[in-house]
């Protein structure tokens, strides 16, 4: 199973599950990051963390630690 954090900049995938700490998962799901959503990793911050992803036409940044709880396919 691959995680969102494993994707390289420019790679796209579909979200399979959103797990992790409940607040973070809630927030991500409110923003539309749910099962079946297409996400693209756009870039990594200059210091290697966080990452920037594109979904539903907008840009979101999240830390790798959070992206490790999101599985993609």
């Amino acid at each position: 199973m691959r995680h969102l954090a494993d994707l390289k900049p420019g790679e796209r995938a579909r979200v399979a599950t959103v797990g992790g700490e409940s607040d973070a998962a809630r927030r991500l799901m409110d923003l539309g990051l749910i099962r079946g959503t297409t996400v693209e990793v756009v870039r990594t911050a200059p210091l290697g963390d966080p990452i920037e992803v594109r979904l539903r036409g907008f840009m979101l940044s999240l830390r790798r630690a959070e992206a490790e709880h999101i599985t993609v396919e």
Binding site: E21, A24, R26, G32, L62
Partner: protein, 726 residues
């Protein structure tokens, strides 16, 4: 409540809003995602007629405005915090939801809700809209930034969207005032339309499982539609908190429903989001047309440079350097102007009034005291302007993105960086800028450490002491010992701020690390009107909060320095008389009383007096030392004062009182000590106000003073032990 005319910004007390409701007034609430132009729309609707306060018990800002409609009806608008949902993930969301449900303490339940949608980002924005519509309140949708959406090749059918949402949709461009008249008309007539309701239906098995939760909520006083929203939300959240706490049997019902659903193969946490986004997908398909679907946007192209691995940090550093450069170059002339204005006022008042206590009170107490703080106003205003500009253009989120990894090292969020950086100029705007930090504990930690950054009020002290006691020796060819000492003071403050932040996050303000989930909004040109309004709000707030305290303290310090009266001896000059007066005054006596306390740091009672007098503002230390040494109008660069300090001898031993070691110890003291009533006043407000805020401010003052004393002691004693005392 509707008697206060803006632009007043007093704190709103619960009792003033909850009771009587004027029949003629229409109460509306404005809600929307961050970065939708919501504030601009609010400003465009209400103009200058606004006031700012806090919701009772929390540090969420409460902004209210009003306007008169075409028919002459008064409409008040409560600008709810920008949120992506009303799921209760943050204090902002919790407040927004409880206001809409009419369960927020001291806030009238709104009669009409205006939901602002960003036309460029309709899909995500509709999530919040779908939650709000379910509350069943008369709702009007402002479809904002339609011009930008069209420019990006999106065409949104407003009529179709009205039919989909069951609430009138008004296309607007808030920055140009387009659509506002129609919007106002729709707001006034919204109560005549059928109430909106949930636009999708639950699968029957899900509805059956949720029925007991719904029942619990309606018994707890919620309307059936609000109960339907809450039950779906609680399924995702799992715990019952805040405005729903105290409803009998609710938590148990929610947990039973969760367990049932899991048994049926559902994933309860994701249900609400999946149902809503499922419905939204259909709405988008039927209402949004993309004839000119564009590839990469301007924001994409800017970000490929601004967030580039190598170029990005360079741009960031250059930008920050530019900001600071301009704070000092732009603000300096203004500060000189304010200073001369205050000086002129002092002279004018002095010549109008006969010499005596009243003249002295006004000139030396009120004008000089308040003036010493007002001098910093231009700098504070310019800094507010920059912070607002960075926020409104969208760069602030990029700065947080770039600096997050660094700030995570001390347990904070990237958003804490700019407030801390602002602290180098002045802690007041830095502390006010912490409002963008979502997690209350991170925010509090940041507020606690911002004053450790060496602000510009410390500069006169550093300059006086370095110029007097640190020899301008060249170090390693290119450096100068004076410059290096100054750098060391700035570094000391910065490193300590980071260390203390890490300490707080591991102890007092420990908590689960909150997610750093942050939108990187599209870049946009800021609306200058909103920016100006924002800056004037902040400056006004500072003047009121800090001004009153400074005024009171200035008078107190004046009285302590002026009484009891010492009659000048016959042969005394004016300066000698002033010196004698201060030495014998209550303040001078207090300096002598605390001398045993400051002696371990190498200070005599005169420095003690200087420290006591700088309680209100650090830079007052310099002018007090001037008075003690009988130099009128001393500044940090006065040659006279420097000579006097160097020449000062112990009465008994004849050794110099001030050595470079004492000077370094004293600078270290001022790196750490929280001698700034303006900051204290703002900390009280920003940490919850009232007793709660006062407790935090006192705590901060105490630990910083303890740190200052301890560090100055260690520096002095270590120096002595190393034989550096001469």
């Amino acid at each position: 409540m509707d008697t206060v005319e803006a632009p007043t910004t007093t704190a709103v007390t619960p009792s003033s809003t909850s009771s009587e409701r004027d029949e003629g007034v229409l109460h509306a609430a404005l809600i929307g995602n961050p970065n939708t132009g919501k504030s601009t729309l609010f400003n465009a609707l209400t103009g200058m007629r606004q006031r700012v306060g806090n919701y009772s018990g929390v540090t969420v800002e409460r902004v209210e405005g009003r306007y008169q409609s075409e028919t002459g009806r008064l409409v008040t608008i409560l600008d709810l915090p920008g949120t992506y949902s009303v799921s209760g993930n943050s204090p902002d969301e919790e407040i927004a939801l409880s206001v809409l449900l009419g369960r927020a303490e001291g806030v009238d339940a709104p009669e009409v809700v205006i939901v602002v949608l960003d036309a460029q980002n309709l899909e995500r924005n509709l999530f919040l809209a779908s939650q709000v519509l379910e509350l069943g309140l008369p709702t009007v949708i402002a479809l904002n930034q339609v011009d930008a959406a069209e420019a990006a090749g999106l065409r949104i059918d407003a009529v179709e969207l009205t039919l989909e949402l069951g609430a009138p949709v008004v296309p607007t461009v808030a920055t140009r005032g387009r659509g506002l008249d129609v919007l106002k008309r729709a707001v006034e007539r919204a109560t005549e339309l059928p109430r909106p309701e949930r636009r999708f239906s639950l699968p029957p098995e899900l509805a059956a499982v949720l029925a007991p939760v719904d029942g619990c909520l309606t018994r707890g006083g919620l309307s059936p539609s609000a109960a339907a929203l809450e039950s779906l939300r609680l399924l995702a959240v799992g715990t019952v908190q805040g405005h729903l706490a105290g409803i009998d049997g609710l938590e148990a019902a929610v947990q039973r429903a969760q367990a049932d659903l899991e048994g049926q193969g559902y994933y309860p946490r994701a249900l609400e989001a999946e149902l809503r986004y499922g419905w939204i997908a259909g709405v988008i398909e039927r209402t949004v047309h993309r004839p000119g679907a564009s590839g990469s946007t301007l924001t994409d192209r800017i970000d490929s440079v601004v967030l580039h691995r190598v170029v990005g940090p360079i741009i960031f550093l250059v930008l920050m350097a530019l900001v600071f450069q301009s704070i000092f170059t732009w603000a300096s002339p203004l500060m000189d102007w304010v200073e001369s204005l205050i000086g002129g006022l002092g002279v004018a008042v002095g010549s109008l009034l006969p010499a005596g206590d009243l003249q002295s009170l006004l000139v030396d107490g009120v004008i000089a005291g308040v003036g010493s703080v007002l001098v910093f106003l231009p700098q504070i205003a310019v800094l507010f302007l920059f912070i607002g500009f960075l926020e409104d253009t969208g760069y602030m989120a990029r700065a947080a993105f770039i600096m997050d990894r660094f700030m995570r090292g001390v347990g904070l969020h990237g958003r804490s960086f700019i407030p801390m950086l602002s602290g180098y100029a002045c802690a007041v705007p830095g502390i006010m800028a912490t409002r963008t930090i979502e997690n209350p504990k991170d925010r509090l930690t940041t507020i606690m450490v911002v004053p450790l950054m060496s602000c510009s009020a410390r500069l006169p002290i550093y300059t006086l002491l370095i110029g007097t006691f640190i020899p301008p020796i060249a170090v390693a060819g290119v450096f100068n010992l004076q410059g290096l000492t100054l750098l060391a003071m700035y570094l000391l403050g910065t490193v300590t701020a980071l260390a203390v932040a890490a300490l707080f996050k591991k102890s007092l303000l420990k908590g689960p690390s909150r997610p750093m989930i942050m939108e990187l909004p599209p870049y946009r040109l800021p609306d200058l009107r909103s920016l100006a309004l924002n800056v004037s709000h902040r400056v006004g707030l500072f003047l009121r909060k800090a001004g009153t305290i400074i005024l009171a303290l200035s008078i107190l310090l004046w009285a302590l320095a002026s009484y009891p009266k010492t009659l000048p001896g016959a042969s005394m000059g004016e300066e000698a008389a002033r010196e004698a007066q201060l030495a014998n005054s209550f303040l001078g006596q207090a300096g002598q009383v605390i001398e045993p306390l400051v002696r371990p740091l190498g200070y005599d009672w005169k420095i003690g007096v200087g420290i006591l007098s700088s309680f209100a503002a650090r830079e007052v230390f310099v002018s007090t030392m001037g008075t003690i040494y009988g130099i009128g109008d001393a500044t940090e660069t006065s040659g006279d004062l420097r000579d006097q300090l160097r020449a000062e001898r112990h009465p008994r031993t004849g050794a110099p009182v001030y050595t470079p070691l004492v000077a370094v110890g004293l600078m270290v003291f001022y790196v750490y000590a929280m001698m700034c009533m303006s900051t204290n006043a703002i900390v009280v407000r920003e940490t919850g106000g009232g007793w709660q805020g006062a407790r935090w401010a006192v705590f901060q003052f105490a630990w910083m003073l303890a740190l200052a004393y301890g560090a100055a002691f260690i520096v002095y004693r270590t120096g002595l032990a190393l034989g550096l005392g001469a």
